[in-house]
């Protein structure tokens, strides 16, 4: 497993790299209720509107900040994937789109991976960046997810993935389609190692991403109001010639239809994850069978419990 020596080692340079898109504006407007919010306040509230509770999109790097215990995490460098396997061009070259997305986000592609602690428990977190070509999944995202699963297995740690994606990256054609089985393998690696795989679906998560690893979590969480589905609303309307029901493909709709376990507000995400990871300890079935009544490993004290 030569990849380990190559990219598990953190690169300080990339960690301190520029933070993308911090708005200069003093005020921001909520897209849901149109109220103005002091931008600094919005950052403090993890981009949740203080007036209506609307969850705005966050960046992948913000996700890491919001999820891990303070200053507990280290980003890993992800393996390289073939850039532009098809030599694709539409009205613009894919290579050019990639360059622009990299400049805009400061990321190599639409996924970041880090390891650290959540509520004092070790975890690997992979977060998708919707700002990078709509969070679309090509070979780099697929490779990154496989790497995150391998890192989790190596560290005997759970994997938490935050999804935000319009689906497969068209510019990689069938190569992007093959990321569906590849990322499914990532989920299977966790399962075989009896490690928890938690998926947090954020706005929006659609297409080939939902139809692969994003629906294979042991626990499926969604953020309030997040758009989650396989087919796009417009395509569905054109196909069935029906008006879509109220709240269709939203987190609450998925919850009502039994597709996600829970809808969790961003302000409660870290403590929810910490609690779930505390309950789902890595389990070695064989060892447990040999020592009945004894957990395979002593579960750690919940970090938040009073001394």
């Amino acid at each position: 497993m030569s990849w380990l020596t190559e990219y598990v080692r953190p690169r300080i340079r990339t960690l301190l790299g520029h933070r993308p898109d911090v708005p200069d504006n003093l005020w921001s407007q909520c897209p849901a209720c149109q109220q103005m919010i002091f931008t600094k306040e919005l950052e403090r509230s993890q981009r949740v509107c203080e007036h209506c509770g609307h969850h705005m999109r966050g960046t992948a790097l913000e996700r890491l900040d919001w999820t891990f215990d303070e200053d507990s995490f280290t980003r890993i460098e992800l393996p390289r994937a073939p850039a532009d396997p098809l030599g694709f061009r539409d009205q613009k070259r894919y290579a050019e789109r990639l360059r622009e997305a990299r400049a805009k986000t400061g990321l190599e592609d639409a996924l970041v991976v880090a390891h650290g602690t959540i509520g004092g428990q070790r975890a690997v977190v992979a977060a998708m960046e919707f700002g990078f070509m709509g969070g679309s999944m090509g070979a780099a995202v697929g490779e990154g997810l496989v790497a995150s699963a391998r890192l989790a297995v190596l560290q005997r740690a759970p994997l938490v993935v935050f999804t935000a994606s319009g689906g497969a990256r068209m510019q990689e054609g069938a190569v992007s389609l093959m990321q569906m089985p590849r990322t499914t393998i990532a989920a299977m690696l966790l399962r075989e190692a009896r490690l928890p795989f938690v998926v947090v679906l954020t706005d929006p998560t659609t297409g080939g991403v939902t139809a692969s690893f994003a629906m294979l979590g042991d626990i499926q969480i969604a953020e309030p109001g997040a758009l989650i589905g396989f087919a796009g609303a417009r395509v569905i309307e054109q196909t069935v010639h029906e008006t879509l029901p109220e709240g269709f493909q939203r987190a609450e709709y998925l919850h009502a239809h039994g597709i996600v376990d829970m809808v969790v507000r961003r302000s409660e995400m870290r403590e929810t994850l910490a609690r779930l990871l505390g309950l789902l300890q890595p389990y070695d079935g064989e060892a447990a069978a040999e020592n009945p009544g004894q957990p395979a490993k002593a579960p750690p004290e919940p970090a938040s419990s009073p001394a």
Binding site: P82, G173, S176, G229
Partner: protein
């Protein structure tokens, strides 16, 4: 009557003329027989020339040809004792995905296919080959059943994609597809998948995550239809031909990208001209693909299948 595609117009004209002359043909009228022979040769040359350089968009049309053999045709031609199995055991039977037990060259196998139907009535019944969650859940059930009895799985893929509908979303279309892919990857038995017509995105890969993936010469396989891609990236569905080119969705492209294993040659003028010939070529290719897999242990099969897909998208391999 034969259905001709737009770009086959010159061939259609020639064949119409030949037919016309044949109607007039009286026994012993040598002149006309001579003319028919000449025209037939010309039509043949034209057909050969046209099919030797089909564009990706033309191939897309051939892949969708109404008369092209469908999954059930292949099953009829290649599988004996076919015993259809139905339902996901939870909600419904989905006729867009056909499947069941049968024998391939005498050996018991599990067969699965996305079926588009061949005339109006059966197209509607099979929902034009676009499956709902219950279809993918049935596929998963049959793959797991095959695994329990050591039966190789043969799949025939021909779909424009999974069905985009309100009910499909409500019942977890994405999860159903993901679980079908997972079932393919976890299967302890050989899986040979053949893209016979359209390999439409997630709806196709759900049944095509195989140890060996074969593809007919004029079949197409892509992450999005050329029309869909054109309307998103060019904001004009009329640019489908350009998008088809850019997507590199032909069998030759996928082979060059190392995403499929084998291209199965089609009869001159496409599988729809000589269905029996096309289907027997596929049978031969499946037999060849299956043979080396039969002696592998479940662990070997799973391991090699996993490595095969993990390699797709690693630098240096594409």
């Amino acid at each position: 009557m034969r259905q001709f595609l737009d770009f086959e117009k010159p061939i259609a004209d020639l064949e119409a003329k030949i037919e016309e002359l044949r109607q007039m043909l009286e026994p012993g009228s040598i002149n006309i027989t001579d003319e028919v022979a000449k025209l037939t040769e010309k039509a043949d040359r034209q057909l050969r020339a046209t099919y030797a350089k089909l564009t990706p968009w033309q191939k897309t049309q051939v892949a969708r040809h109404e008369d092209r053999p469908k999954a059930l045709d292949y099953i009829g031609a290649l599988i004996t004792e076919f015993s259809p199995l139905a339902g996901d055991r939870a909600f419904a039977e989905d006729a867009a995905i056909v499947g069941g037990l049968g024998r391939f060259e005498g050996r018991p196998v599990m067969v699965l296919g996305t079926e588009k139907g061949s005339e109006t009535e059966s197209r509607v019944r099979h929902n034009f080959g676009s499956a709902k969650p219950e279809g993918y859940r049935k596929a998963r059930r049959l793959i797991e059943l095959a695994g329990r009895f050591g039966l190789p799985v043969l799949t025939f893929v021909d779909t424009s994609g999974a069905f985009p509908g309100i009910d499909a979303e409500a019942r977890g279309q994405a999860e159903a597809i993901a679980r079908s892919i997972e079932a393919c990857l976890a299967a302890p038995i050989p899986i040979v998948a053949t893209i016979i017509g359209e390999g439409g995105s997630g709806g196709a890969i759900a049944l095509a995550t195989g140890d060996r993936v074969l593809m007919l010469e004029h079949a197409v396989y892509s992450v999005i239809s050329p029309e869909g891609c054109a309307s998103i990236l060019w904001r004009d569905a009329g640019q489908a031909a350009t998008a088809a080119e850019a997507l590199r969705l032909t069998a030759a492209d996928l082979k060059a990208l190392h995403l499929i294993d084998t291209v199965v040659a089609e009869p001159l003028g496409g599988a729809h001209r000589e269905p029996a010939e096309a289907m027997s070529a596929v049978g031969l290719a499946i037999a060849q693909a299956l043979q080396p897999l039969l002696n592998l242990s479940p662990a070997m099969l799973r391991g090699q299948r996993r490595e095969k897909f993990l390699a797709m998208g690693r630098e240096g391999l594409v």
